[in-house]
Point group: C2
Chain length 199, copies 2
DNA sequence: CGCGCCGTAGGACATTTGACCTAAAATCTT
DNA sequence: AAGATTTTAGGTCAAATGTCCTACGGCGCG
């Protein structure tokens, strides 16, 4: 096995474990075990947990960017793209009801730990935020695109958190429908300006 | 110092530390140090970390219940009461931007740890949920009171999470205003039914 | 071919940390 | 002062982290 391939496997396994159990609760040995490496060999690739965290975040950023790029390259309208984003909550409902949103929970945990990589994790949010801003701008809402983007992110996060707490799939679907309705009201052909963000 | 008083101090200190650093990241010694107790004395009051967690959750439930009762005993209208709840985000903005929502982040962490006390933590949410249901019922929305309650909780959680990530106070205020506007649209004297929850 | 180099892999320590426990001193109660 | 309660100062044990050392196999080179 080549070193970079081994490394990649480690990052993928760590990514999953950090998501499922949290960063703090995942031990070096847990990750090594998941990839079937001895501790010593593991150390050859990553010397500290923080290094792994850095790599995991970088990996997530790449993966996220790829998904967003693909959506933006597709034929969907900006509004449909935004809905694609929100529907992640449905697609990943099982994982989310068990472990929450990967981005939100990581940012929360790193904030509490006051971890050096905190800001890097927030960049994941920033990625989505910027992408959403572009979609809303394309919908003719350049003036308040950022407020709208944050609003969509806010709703996703809120739904994810409550989904984890209550494990209520009907609630998730209801709220997704509500976002869809809100979105339609935001960017219609021509209707009275809705009561939303006044930035 | 009487035992129950010492115990109370321990719970208060543990509550703060669990909130600020997280449950997993807070050690026995951290709590003992915060109350200036020897580890042994600490052990006299609580034998395991899980016992402390139980006590902290019970303490939070009591405190929450007291606040909700006070609000319900006050002269405010149900709509104003709901706004009081949402405005906690403003009142506690400093703490929330640093450590998130105490309820949401605890539930998230315990979910990941698959901790036995997970469901007890969710009861904190349930407390708010039931209280909100009563307010919406009083506003004449008994039919969808629960969906509306969850919607308000969802927004609070989303705002808290993003507030922690971006530390943007203006965003928080904007979203609070938006909830207020939404609330007005929900339960007005008599207006066309808004596009909200269809449970 | 023989030899040393290097990337890769695996195991054997050493150190630290944190949860959990005990014995006995100090303090309070009656 | 007897007896219960509270506090202190230790100590144990397992898990986690950090570091080193050996081994194997390909490969360039004299």
């Amino acid at each position: 096995m080549t070193a970079s391939e081994t490394r990649r496997q480690i990052v993928v396994a760590a990514d999953r474990l950090f998501y499922e159990r949290g960063f703090e609760a995942t031990s070096f040995a847990d990750i090594a075990g998941a990839v079937r490496l001895s501790r010593g060999n593991f150390y050859y690739h990553f010397r500290t947990k923080d290094e792994i965290l850095q790599a995991v975040i970088a990996h997530r950023i790449d993966a996220t960017q790829a998904v967003l790029d693909a959506w933006e390259a597709g034929a969907d309208s900006p509004a449909e793209r935004i809905l694609s984003f929100v529907r992640i909550l449905i697609t990943n409902r099982t994982a989310i009801m068990a472990h929450g949103c990967p981005v939100g929970t990581l940012c929360n945990e790193l904030s509490k730990l006051d971890h050096a990589a905190k800001d890097d994790a927030v960049r994941l949010f920033t990625l989505f935020r910027g992408w959403l801003v572009r979609q809303f701008t394309a919908l003719g809402r350049e003036a308040d695109a950022d407020a709208l983007a944050l609003h969509v992110l806010m709703r996703s996060q809120g739904v994810a958190t409550l989904a984890t707490a209550f494990r209520d799939e009907a609630f998730v679907r209801r709220e997704i429908d509500d976002v869809a309705a809100w979105l339609t009201a935001q960017c219609p052909p021509a209707s009275p300006p809705a009561s939303r963000p006044h930035p």
